[in-house]
C-alpha cells in the first residue's frame, strides 16, 4: 500500500515501484528459501519500500538482526545479508560466515545498500570469506519516496560527514539518486544551488550525465532543481517548529514515517471495557498524507489545529446523524456503503485529538513558553550580544544539554558569532555542568559554524533578516498569508531563498547571497528539442528542492504552503538526506568519547 505516494504533483510511486522491482529481482536471483540478516539501520528505510509480505512472496522465511557469532539456525537454503557498505559490518559478516555449520552449508549472498564497495569486498577477502558468497550485489536505494511530495535518503549522519568529517560519500549517493530520478522523470533542465556541497553535487551530476550518454527519452517532469546546503541556513533547524507535524517531531520524534506515543491517551478506546488495564507498549502510528485528516492539519500552525479538529468533529458527527434521515432502502444502502470511510475518519479524528492533547500539555507549559520567547528574541536580534540569563538559568538547573546547545548555537548564529568572552563563558559553564568530555562536542559545533567567536566583521545577521524578511511581526497562525506562520513569526531562511528564486529571482538578493556561505550557481542541462515542455497557460512549474544535510517538517510545511498559494506558479517536491529537527541534528554532531565508535 502506497496511496500516499500518488497524491502529489509528481507520481513518486514510479520510483518506489522501480525500487521494488529491483528488490524482487535480487531475491529471485537467490533461488530457494532464504533468511535475511539485516543491518538494523536499514530496516526502517526498507519499510518505506516493501513490507514483509513482499519478502515472503519471494521465499524469505526468516529475518535476523546482524550480530556477531553464529547465525541462528534456520532450515533455509540461502542466507542473505542486507548491509550498508561499512567495514565494521564486514567483520561481523566474516565472523558469521566463519562460524557457519560446515555440515549443512547454506548459500551466502550480500546485498549492499545503497552501493557495492570495493573496500568492503577487499576486507571480506582479507578475512578469507569472499569466495563464500554466491552473489554480491548492490541495491541502489538513494532517494526513498517518503510521502507524496517528499524523498529522503534517510542518511542520518550525512550532515556530520559532510561538514564535520569532510566525507562526501552521501553527496555522491545524492548525485546518483538524482541521476536515477532523472532516468525515471526526465532530465531536469535547470539547476540552481547554494553552498559548497550543492556545487559538488551539481558537478558530479553533470559529470555523470556524460557517463550515461544515450538515455531513454522522457519528457521532463521537473523544471528546476534547487540544491541547498544545510549550512547556508543553520538557524532554521535550531528553532522550535510550531506546526502540528513539526511539534510531534520535536516532542516525540518521527522516524521513517512512524511515531511512538505514550499509550495512556489512547487507552479508553472502547466503552464498556473501562476496567481494562492500561496498555504499556507505546502506541505506534504511521504518519503520512494517505490519512485525509492528517494531510489537512499536519502543516497548520499548532494554534490552528484545535479549531480544525473541532470542525472536523462536527462534520463527522453530522455525517453519522445522516442515518436518521435515511428513510428509503436506497438511502440506507448509501449510508452503509460510506460507513467504513466514516469510521476510519472517526478513528483518525480520535487519534489526532489525543495527539493534539499530548502536544498541548507541552506547549502550554511555562518552560516551553519561556524557551520560545528567548528563541524569538534571538531571532529578532534582541540581546544577542550578551550572556542570556535564561540560558544561564537553564544551565544552572541542568536542563538537557541539547536544549542548551540549541539555544547557545542559535544565539551565536543570530549574532554572526559570539564575543569571545561570552562564548568562553558558555563553554565553561557547559563543561563544568555537563562534564569536560563535551569539549569535543563543542569543538564540533565550532567546526560546522554553529558556534563561533565574533570576527572583526560587523554582525550581518540583521541585514539578512531584513532583506529576506525573516521576521514577520504579525504572523497569522489561523489563516496564514506567509510562510512565517510555521515558526509563528520566523520565516525559514532556506524557504525564503526558494521563494525568492521562483520570484523575482536571485539577482535581487545578490548581496545576501554573498554573505551566506558557499557559492551560488546556475547550470543548464540540454534537453533534446523534442522534449521541451510546452506549458499550458496557468500550469505551474515544478521545482525539486534538495536539502543537503537535512530538512525540518516546518520547512516542508512552508514549501507546501508556497505550492498551494494561489498565485505562486510553482509547485515543490522536496528531497533531503534526512528529516531532522534541532534535537536530532545537534545529537548527530555530538561526540561521545566513551563509546568506541561514534
Amino acid at each position: 500500500m502506497a496511496s500516499h505516494l500518488f497524491c502529489g504533483r509528481v507520481n513518486l510511486n514510479i520510483l518506489r515501484e522501480a525500487a521494488r522491482k529491483d528488490l524482487r529481482e535480487f531475491l529471485d536471483k537467490c533461488s530457494g528459501s532464504k533468511a535475511i540478516v539485516w543491518d538494523e539501520y536499514l530496516t526502517g528505510p526498507f519499510g518505506l519500500i516493501a513490507q514483509y509480505s513482499l519478502l515472503k512472496e519471494h521465499e524469505v522465511e526468516k529475518m535476523f538482526t546482524l550480530k556477531g557469532g553464529r547465525i541462528p539456525s534456520a532450515a533455509v537454503k540461502n542466507i542473505v545479508f542486507f548491509v550498508r557498505p561499512r567495514l565494521e559490518l564486514m567483520d561481523i559478516i566474516a565472523e558469521n560466515v566463519a562460524s557457519e555449520d560446515k555440515l549443512q552449508p547454506r548459500d551466502f549472498h550480500i546485498l549492499f545498500v545503497p552501493r557495492r564497495s570495493l573496500l568492503c569486498e577487499q576486507r571480506l577477502k582479507e578475512k578469507g570469506v569472499l569466495h563464500s558468497f554466491t552473489n554480491i550485489d548492490e541495491y541502489i536505494l538513494d532517494l526513498i519516496p517518503y510521502d507524496g511530495d517528499l524523498l529522503s535518503m534517510e542518511s542520518e549522519s550525512s550532515f556530520r560527514e559532510c561538514y564535520l568529517e569532510n566525507d562526501q560519500t552521501s553527496l555522491y549517493h545524492a548525485a546518483k539518486g538524482l541521476m536515477t530520478l532523472q532516468a525515471l522523470y526526465g532530465t531536469i533542465p535547470q539547476i540552481f544551488g547554494k553552498g559548497e556541497c550543492a556545487r559538488h553535487v551539481a558537478n558530479m551530476m553533470l559529470r555523470m550525465k556524460r557517463e550515461f550518454a544515450g538515455h531513454a527519452q522522457i519528457l521532463p517532469v521537473f523544471d528546476t532543481l534547487l540544491l541547498l546546503d544545510r549550512n547556508v541556513d543553520l538557524l532554521t533547524p535550531l528553532a522550535t517548529q510550531l506546526t502540528y507535524e513539526g511539534l510531534i517531531d520535536e516532542i516525540y520524534g518521527i522516524t521513517n514515517g512512524y511515531v511512538k506515543l505514550p499509550p495512556e491517551k489512547f487507552a479508553q478506546k472502547k466503552q464498556g471495557e473501562g476496567g481494562k488495564d492500561l496498555p504499556t507498549e507505546p502506541k505506534k502510528l504511521q504518519l503520512n498524507s494517505a490519512e485525509e485528516l492528517y494531510a489537512e492539519i499536519r502543516d497548520k500552525n499548532f494554534n490552528a489545529v484545535g479549531a480544525a479538529l473541532s470542525k472536523k468533529a462536527k462534520i463527522i458527527s453530522a455525517a453519522f446523524e445522516e442515518r436518521h434521515n435515511a428513510k428509503t432502502v436506497g438511502e440506507i444502502k448509501q449510508f452503509v456503503s460510506q460507513l467504513p470511510h466514516m469510521q476510519a475518519a472517526r478513528s483518525s479524528l480520535a487519534n489526532h485529538t489525543s495527539i493534539a492533547e499530548l502536544v498541548k500539555d507541552i506547549t502550554i507549559s511555562e518552560a516551553f513558553f519561556e524557551s520560545l520567547t528567548v528563541e524569538q528574541e534571538f531571532m529578532t536580534g534582541v540581546d544577542t550580544d550578551k550572556v542570556s540569563t535564561y540560558i544561564e538559568d537553564c544551565i544552572a538547573q541542568k536542563d538537557p544539554l541539547i536544549k542548551i546547545l540549541r539555544l547557545v548555537c542559535m544565539q551565536s548564529v543570530c549574532n554572526n558569532g559570539l564575543k569571545q568572552k561570552v562564548l568562553d563563558y558558555y563553554k565553561k559553564e557547559i563543561l563544568q555542568t555537563y562534564g569536560y568530555e563535551h569539549i569535543l562536542t563543542l569543538k564540533n559545533m565550532e567546526k560546522v559554524g554553529l558556534l563561533k567567536p565574533q570576527s572583526t566583521m560587523r554582525n550581518n545577521y540583521p541585514t539578512i533578516r531584513k532583506t529576506l524578511k525573516l521576521w514577520m511581526e504579525d504572523a497569522n497562525e489561523q489563516n496564514p498569508n506567509d510562510i512565517s506562520y510555521v515558526y509563528s513569526g520566523y520565516a525559514p531562511l532556506s524557504v525564503r531563498l526558494t521563494q525568492v528564486l521562483a520570484r523575482p529571482g536571485w539577482r535581487s538578493i545578490e548581496e545576501v547571497l554573498k554573505i551566506l556561505p558557499g557559492p551560488h550557481f546556475e547550470e543548464r542541462q540540454q534537453v533534446p528539442t523534442g522534449l521541451h515542455k510546452k506549458r499550458q497557460p496557468g500550469e505551474n512549474r515544478t521545482t525539486l528542492v534538495f536539502f543537503l544535510g537535512g530538512v525540518t517538517y516546518a520547512e516542508i510545511a512552508a514549501l507546501r504552503f508556497l505550492s498551494n498559494m494561489e498565485d505562486s506558479g510553482t509547485e515543490y517536491i522536496i528531497a533531503t538526506t534526512k528529516l531532522i529537527n534541532g534535537t536530532s541534528w545537534i545529537k548527530s554532531l555530538m561526540d561521545h568519547p566513551e563509546e568506541n565508535s561514534p
Binding site: 570495493l118 577487499q122 566525507d167 560519500t169 544561564e392 538559568d393 569536560y436
Partner: protein, 835 residues
C-alpha cells in the same frame, strides 16, 4: 529463367539443388588430400594443416587459414605437438587438439591466444579421436582417449572436465560416435558393432534405433543434425537409418547398396523440410538419401569435405565450394516447371509487363480473381531471400514490388527488410569477404553475431556500413565496432602514441557508449602505457579509469581521478592500494596533497587504526587534533593515572595549538579528577569522573559543605549557578535548617522566589512561606500564589497596580469563597486599566 531449375534434382516429393558458392581462391597443389581440414559453420573460415605425414625430420607441417572463398588469412609452420583435430569456436577462434590432450587456441589470423589441457588422464592415455561441438553453452571439446574413455568439456571458456562412464566392450577405433545435446546436457552417442549406447554424466545406457534393418551387423557411421534433434546412421550393410535423436521414432531407412564405410555423412535438412535427408560421401561419390528408395548421386572429382549447416551441407573441395540443400518451398512453388502457384504467376506477369505485353494483365487477373495477390507477393519476397544470384533476387523482388502496386494496405515491412538483408548478405558473400551465409542462417545467427564476425576479420569499415545501413542502435553497432577497431589500432607498433591517440579520439569522438578503458587496457597489454594513459583521458567513467591506472602503477593519477569522480569508495580503494604500495612517509606525503583523500583516510583510521591517526596528525603538526585525540583516548582509559597523563599530553598539544581555552579547560579537568580521587580516598564517596556540577551536588548532599565551597571557589563557578545548585541539593535533602542558614548567608544572586519554589516542590509550605517576604516586589504575586496565599497575592498585585498580575490572581480565585476579594481585585483592575 528456365535455367534456375537446371541444377535441381528430384528426390521423393522434394527437389535438391547444388549451387556453386565460390571457385576457391587458394592454390592447393594436392587439393585437400592428406590435409586435416576444419571449416566453421555459418560460412566461417577454413583451417588446413598440410603435410602432417612427415616426409623428412626437418619438414614441419604448415597451418593455413582461409576464408570460405579461399583467400588466405594466415599461414605458419606448426611447431607444437602432433595435432589430432582442428575445430572452430563460436567466436571464430581455431582450436588445435594435440595428441597429449593440450588444446591450443589461435585467432583468425593465426595469433596464439592461449592453451588449456583436457586433463591428466587424457595426456597419459593420449587422444584417439576428438570432436569439437557447439551447444547453447558455447563451444565444447569431446575426446576419446587411448584407454577408450570419453572426456568432455562443454564450454572451453569455462572448463569443467567430465569423464564419462565406461562403455562395455568398446574396442578401439572401429567404433563411431557423436556428441549431442539433450535435456540441457551434453551426451555422447557411441556405437560398438551393432550396439548403440548413450553416455551421460552418470550412466551408460544401451539403446536401439527402432526398426533398424536386421541385415546390419555393425554401425559404421553416426551423424547428428545441426539442431541435435535428428540422428542418422549407416550400417555395414549399406542401410541409412534416419530418426529422431531420442531414438523414439524412425523417419526412414534407405538401402544405398554400398557396403564400404563412407568417409563422411551429414544431415541435409532445413527447418520446415519436406523430408528428412542426409548426405553421404564416399571417395568420388556423394549420395543424397531421403524417404524414397531413390537417391541422388553426384560425382566428385576431387577430395572433398562436408560442412553441415542449419539448412544444407556445404561441400568444399580443392577447387570449389558448393552448397547442397533442399530447394526451399517458396522457390519450388515459383520455379517448378509449369507451376501455377500465385508467386509463379506474378513472376510471369511481371515478365510480360517488362515486355510491354498485355498478357501481364491476364496473369494478374488470374491471381487477383483467386485473391492470392498478397500471397504471391509474399512468395516472391521469400523466394528472393533463398536465391543466391543477385540477378534472380532482383527479378523476384521486382515482381513482388510490381504486385504490391495492385494491393492497398499491404504491410511493407517484409519487403523492405528483405531488401536490406539481401543487400547485407550479398556484401558479405562477396568473394573478398567470403562469408557465404544463407538468409535462414543469417536470421538464426543474428546481426549482432554477423557484425562480430566482420570485426574478427578486421573488416571494420564494412561492419560500420552494415550497422549504419541497418540502423542498429549506436551502442550495439557502430560504437562496438569502433571499439574493436581501436583495440586493434593500439596494437600497431609502428605508429607513435600521439598519432594513435589522436586517430582514436577523432574516430570515436561522437560515438555513444564507448569504453575507452577497454581500449586503454589493450594498449597497456601490448606494452604501451603512455598511450593507455592518453586514451584513459577520454574515458568519462572514473570507475573504469581508476583500476587500470592502478594496474599501470600510475597511482597519483588514479588518486586524482578517483577524487574527481566523487565516488568515495573509489578513493578508498586507491588509498588502500597506495598504503600497501608506498612506504609510510611517501604515502603520507601523497595524502597531504589530496585533502579529500586525507580526510577519508582519517575517517578510516578513526574506526580502524587509531595509532595511524595519531601519526597523521603528528606529521601535519596538527596540535589541535592531537589534543582532541588524547582527550578521546583519555576517556577510554580506565586507570586514573594514565588518564591524567593523556590529558596532560592533550594540554601540551592545546598550548602548542595556541588554544588557551581548551588547554585551561583540560587542566581544570585534571584538577577536578585529582580532587575527586583525593576525596574518594579520604571519604569513600564515589566521585571520580562526574562533572563538576554533579560533584558539588554530591558533596553537599553528604554534608561536605566545605569541600563543595572549595570547588566553587577553585573553579570560579558563577554565584548564580552555585546558589541554584546548593539550593536544590539542600531541598533535595530536605535540610531546611541549612537552607535557611544559606538564605541568610548573604543576598541571594538568584532572588528568593526559587527558595519558595523548591520548598513547594518538596511540599513544604511552611518553609516556603519563610521566604515569601524576601522576594522582590516583581515576583511577590508569583511567590504568594506559589504558597497558595491568594489574599497575599491579591494585596501584592493591587499594590503594584499591575493589570496583568491582577488578572492572574483573579484567575486563581474561586467565585464561591473569594467573592469579596474578587470584587476588590476587579475594582483595582479597572483603576489600573485607566492609568
Amino acid at each position: 529463367m528456365a535455367f534456375v531449375t537446371a541444377n535441381w534434382n528430384p528426390l521423393g516429393e522434394a527437389f535438391y539443388r547444388k549451387i556453386e558458392l565460390y571457385e576457391m581462391g587458394w592454390n592447393l597443389k594436392d587439393g585437400l588430400r592428406e590435409c586435416l581440414v576444419a571449416a566453421a559453420p555459418y560460412g566461417g573460415p577454413i583451417a588446413l594443416l598440410k603435410g602432417r605425414i612427415r616426409r623428412s625430420p626437418s619438414a614441419r607441417p604448415q597451418l593455413e587459414i582461409y576464408s570460405s572463398s579461399g583467400l588466405p588469412l594466415a599461414s605458419f609452420p606448426w611447431k607444437s605437438g602432433v595435432v589430432k583435430q582442428l575445430g572452430w569456436t563460436v567466436t571464430d577462434d581455431l582450436l588445435c587438439v594435440q595428441e597429449d590432450g593440450t588444446v591450443l587456441v589461435y585467432d583468425l589470423f593465426g595469433g596464439f591466444k592461449r592453451h588449456f589441457s583436457m586433463g591428466n588422464e587424457v595426456s597419459q592415455s593420449q587422444v584417439l579421436d576428438t570432436k569439437i561441438f557447439h551447444s547453447p553453452y558455447g563451444t565444447g571439446v569431446a575426446i576419446l582417449t587411448g584407454a577408450l574413455r570419453f572426456t568432455l568439456a562443454t564450454n572451453i571458456d569455462d572448463i569443467k572436465l567430465r569423464r564419462l562412464p565406461e562403455v562395455p566392450g568398446l574396442q578401439g577405433a572401429s567404433s563411431c560416435w557423436a556428441v549431442l545435446t539433450q535435456d540441457r546436457q551434453c551426451k555422447v552417442l557411441v556405437a560398438n558393432e551393432s550396439q548403440l549406447f548413450i553416455l551421460d554424466n552418470t550412466a551408460c545406457t544401451p539403446v536401439t534405433p527402432p526398426g533398424l534393418s536386421p541385415e546390419a551387423s555393425s554401425i559404421v557411421h553416426i551423424c547428428v543434425s545441426f539442431s541435435y534433434k535428428y540422428l542418422a546412421l549407416i550400417t555395414d550393410s549399406g542401410h541409412v537409418w534416419m530418426g529422431t535423436s531420442n531414438l523414439k521414432e524412425k523417419l526412414s531407412e534407405v538401402d544405398t547398396k554400398i557396403k564400404t564405410p563412407p568417409k563422411q555423412m551429414a544431415w541435409c535438412r532445413r527447418p520446415k523440410s519436406q523430408q528428412p535427408s542426409a548426405v553421404v560421401m564416399w571417395d568420388g561419390l556423394l549420395l543424397v538419401v531421403g524417404e524414397s528408395k531413390e537417391t541422388i548421386k553426384y560425382h566428385l572429382d576431387d577430395e572433398s569435405i562436408l560442412v553441415p549447416e542449419l539448412d544444407g551441407v556445404r561441400i568444399i573441395s580443392g577447387t570449389h565450394h558448393e552448397l547442397l540443400q533442399e530447394v526451399p518451398g517458396a522457390c519450388e512453388e515459383i520455379f517448378k516447371i509449369a507451376s501455377m502457384a500465385p508467386g509463379a504467376l506474378l513472376l510471369e506477369a511481371h515478365k510480360e509487363y517488362e515486355k510491354e505485353s498485355q498478357k501481364a494483365d491476364e496473369y494478374l487477373r488470374e491471381i487477383k480473381e483467386q485473391s492470392l495477390l498478397s500471397e504471391a507477393v509474399r512468395q516472391c519476397v521469400e523466394a528472393a531471400g533463398h536465391e543466391h544470384e543477385p540477378e534472380t533476387q532482383k527479378t523476384l523482388l521486382r515482381a513482388a514490388s510490381f504486385g504490391k502496386c495492385f494491393l492497398s494496405n499491404f504491410p511493407p515491412e517484409q519487403f523492405v527488410s528483405m531488401c536490406r538483408d539481401l543487400r547485407v548478405l550479398n556484401a558479405v558473400r562477396d568473394y573478398t569477404v567470403g562469408i557465404p551465409l544463407t538468409h535462414t542462417q543469417f536470421k538464426q545467427m543474428t546481426l549482432q553475431v554477423l557484425i562480430d564476425r566482420l570485426v574478427y576479420r578486421k573488416l571494420y569499415p564494412l561492419a560500420i556500413e552494415v550497422c549504419r545501413y541497418l540502423k542498429t542502435p549506436e551502442y550495439l553497432g557502430v560504437s562496438r565496432v569502433l571499439k574493436h577497431w581501436a583495440c586493434f589500432k593500439v596494437q600497431q607498433k609502428e605508429e607513435s602514441d600521439e598519432v594513435i591517440a589522436k586517430a582514436v579520439s577523432v574516430k570515436l569522438a561522437d560515438a555513444a557508449g564507448i569504453s575507452y578503458s577497454e581500449i586503454a587496457t589493450k594498449a597497456y597489454e601490448s606494452g604501451r602505457t603512455e598511450l593507455a594513459i592518453k586514451l584513459l583521458e577520454f574515458e568519462p567513467r572514473s570507475g573504469e579509469q581508476v583500476p587500470l591506472l592502478l594496474k599501470m602503477k600510475k597511482s597519483p593519477l588514479a588518486l586524482s581521478k578517483a577524487i574527481e569522480s566523487g565516488d568515495t569508495d573509489l578513493v578508498y580503494t586507491v588509498v588502500m592500494y597506495l598504503k600497501n604500495e608506498l612506504n609510510r612517509g611517501d604515502f603520507f606525503m601523497m595524502l597531504r596533497n589530496q585533502p579529500v583523500a586525507l580526510s577519508l583516510y582519517r575517517q578510516f583510521c578513526k574506526h580502524q587504526e587509531q595509532d595511524t591517526l595519531k601519526d597523521l596528525f603528528n606529521q601535519d603538526d596538527d596540535h589541535e587534533e592531537l589534543g582532541n585525540f588524547y582527550v578521546k583516548a583519555s576517556y577510554k582509559e580506565k586507570r586514573l593515572e594514565a588518564r591524567i597523563a593523556l590529558l596532560q599530553s592533550a594540554v601540551d598539544e592545546y598550548y602548542k595549538a595556541k588554544n588557551e581555552f581548551s588547554a585551561k579547560a583540560t587542566e581544570d579537568e585534571m584538577r577536578l579528577l585529582r580532587f575527586q580521587r583525593k576525596l574518594e580516598e579520604e571519604k569513600g564517596e564515589p566521585l571520580v569522573g562526574f562533572p563538576l556540577h554533579e560533584t558539588m551536588t554530591m558533596l553537599l548532599s553528604v554534608g561536605l559543605h566545605k569541600h563543595a565551597e572549595q570547588l566553587y571557589k577553585d573553579f570560579r563557578v558563577p554565584d548564580k549557578r552555585f546558589w541554584w545548585l546548593k539550593l536544590k541539593a539542600l531541598a533535595e535533602k530536605e535540610d531546611w535548617e541549612e537552607l535557611e542558614k544559606f538564605a541568610k548567608s548573604k543576598k541571594s544572586p538568584i532572588g528568593y522566589l526559587p527558595f519558595v519554589e523548591v520548598c513547594i516542590k518538596r511540599h513544604n509550605k511552611f518553609e516556603a512561606k519563610k521566604y515569601v517576604s524576601k522576594v522582590t516586589p516583581e515576583q511577590k504575586v508569583k511567590a504568594h500564589l506559589a504558597v497558595g496565599d491568594v489574599e497575599g497575592a491579591a494585596e501584592a498585585a493591587i499594590e503594584r497596580r499591575s493589570e496583568s498580575e491582577i488578572s492572574t490572581v483573579l484567575s486563581r480565585c474561586s467565585s464561591t469563597t473569594d467573592h469579596l476579594l474578587m470584587e476588590r481585585l476587579n475594582r483595582a483592575k479597572a483603576t489600573a486599566a485607566k492609568k
